[in-house]
Amino acid sequence: MKTMLKTTAAALALTVGATAAAAEEKVVLYHWFEYMPQELLDKFTAETGIKVTMDTFDSNEAMLASLKAGAIGTYDLSVPGDYMVAILKNQGMLDTIADGELKNKANISDQWLDVDFDPGRMHSIPYQWGSTSFSVNRDDYQGDIQSTDILFNPPEELKGRINVLDSQADVLAMASLHLGIPQCTNDREQLKALNALVQGAKENWTSFNSDTAKEVLVSGDVSAGMIWNGFSAKARAEGANVEYAYPEQGMLVWMDNIVLLKDAPNRENALKFLDFMLEPENVAALTNWTQYSAGVDGVSDHLDEALRTSPENNPPAGVSTAFIQVCDEQTQAVYDTIWTNLKK
């Protein structure tokens, strides 16, 4: 909901900005909701004189749809998640960053340089990374929470008090971890089991909310909810007695990345912004605000102590992790049917 407000405001700002300051230097960013502190944008403007215009989206798929519907060419930069970088690249929507165009490229951590979704970082730089699991309100439930049973086979206390993310990719990937089957499997029996699992679990879920995933935990509307680690840390900071789970079946990890879009109207300024977002100090400010983790070296010195030691950012050893995978067309069609069946 905040999302929509922000989108509207941003759209307004975009129109006003476009007419009033045609000559002014600017960069246009298409970004997630609630994912960029205004102070950082102000700092960029103060350092470079380039104004940042930001429009927001609430899911990777919504962004893709909007770019496909003709928004490509109006934005310079966007912030897709890992698998969406691969999709955008396959769709030919990304511009290539040539060698030497980014002076701070060396700051990218080795771990995040040669990633599957963008080998050699030809189109993107790391933004933030984190994990997707679930959190449980410890006032409401004291038992063991380190299992995906909490979502798919919940104890009596949690039945009907669970929120899941309103995202097909996250829910079905998590369900695959629960079943111990590969993501995007094309095995019929496994797909049937996946369908049956989510169908059966739904009666224990009270809502599918992504943008209010934190809020419903803080307000006590639900006792457990699928959530991103940074959002869970924020929920705890806002006074909810929630614990972020590291399920034995594994959890999802993701990385959001800033990409240079094809036909960027302000390409030079966009490159300056990318360099700005590779400065450890700036990335640290961002990380302190989002409560996730950075993909850039030299950040940890600038991090808040609380964040460095937070339980949400320090998984116990041995937790297995998986990125969400991009399904082929055939499996995706089955996934779509499962999702529609689930919500019919």
Binding site: M1, E61, A65, K68, Q168, N209, Q332, D336, T340, K344
Partner: protein, 309 residues
């Protein structure tokens, strides 16, 4: 120029007609650009082939309509059966919108009647009061509704405080919450047309009925209601139609657990499905249904008018 000729007394019927056509041009342009063109685009898209992850391939296809009406199992290779999924979703939307319309009518009718029977001087003030909440964005109103209704919200606090209930009533994330949200979103669309109709109603007819010993209930049913029926029908249509396509209330108040038509269509464009032709086809089917409902209303109304005169 043409308009000037028409108003100069010597104009023939032909120049008058020509002037009228020219003057109507802006309206036709607006209708053409903002109504006809998008609908045609939708119609064309619904008969195209879907492109993986959104977009269309320019090859004619009936796949979207096939998907809507036939169920071929999880893997799409079983013999076709009738698809109940989308019928269920459409039926749910009709039912929810119908309930919201009924609720609006039950609350809206007395409200409109009350306003229309106040002294003429203060009526604008009452109408003004009705519209105040609607200066606020629909999204904010819907979210506020959720805050009011939630388990720890003021409504439940109040009910528990007065001792009427012991534990909170779960309203948020139920169908009832969606109906309540739709009702609240579109209430003025019910009140205002009914108000306009009641205001035009000649109350001396009620007095005459009373003079002829008609009980109040009979007067309402046989004199007042037929006279203001167009207002009531207009109100019902204005609430029902946008409720059918709504996705804010189902998402925010219903917990997005079950698709309504609006959210189903949204998912085809913004969600993982990325199936534009199917989204267009579902929109066309929705549009057709609404048109049929409107035509039925319109025919009934014209029948009633012809019978009356």
């Amino acid at each position: 120029m043409a308009a000037g000729a028409a108003s100069g007394g010597s104009a023939t019927t032909d120049t008058y007609k020509e002037a009228r056509n020219w003057l109507l041009l802006p309206s036709w342009a607006v209708l053409g650009i903002f109504v006809l063109a998008p609908v045609c685009m939708m119609l064309v898209y619904s008969f195209l082939t879907k492109e993986f992850r959104g977009g269309v391939i320019w090859e004619p296809s009936l796949a979207a309509y096939d998907q809507f009406f036939f169920d071929r199992g999880l893997f799409g290779d079983e013999p076709a059966k009738i698809e109940w999924t989308y019928i269920t979703i459409f039926w749910r939307s009709i039912w929810q919108a119908g309930a919201a319309t009924l609720l609006s009518l039950v609350i809206g009718f007395p409200t409109a009647y009350f306003i229309a029977t106040r002294p003429e001087r203060v009526r604008p003030f009452w109408v003004f009061l009705i519209t105040i909440p609607y200066w606020v964005n629909l999204l904010i109103r819907t979210v506020s509704m959720k805050f009011l209704l939630r388990d720890q919200g003021p409504l439940n606090d109040f009910l528990i405080g007065t001792g009427l209930i012991d534990s909170p009533i779960h309203i948020v994330n139920t169908n009832f919450a969606v109906q309540l949200g739709l009702f609240y979103s579109y209430l003025p669309f019910m009140v205002l047309p009914i108000y306009a109709a009641v205001e035009r109603y000649n109350f001396s007819l009620s007095e005459a009925a009373a003079d002829l010993y008609a009980p109040k209930w009979v007067t309402l049913r046989r004199i007042v209601l037929p006279a203001i029926k167009p207002g009531v029908i207009a109100g019902c249509i204005l609430v029902f139609v946008p409720s059918m396509g709504s996705f804010l209330a189902p998402d925010l108040l219903g917990g997005a657990k079950n698709f309504m038509i609006g959210s189903l269509i949204e998912e085809q464009f913004k969600g993982n499905a990325g199936n534009w032709p199917f989204g267009a086809a579902a929109s066309m089917i929705l549009l057709t249904m609404v048109l049929i409902i409107l035509l039925i209303f319109a025919r009934q109304q014209s029948k009633a008018e012809n019978g009356g005169s």
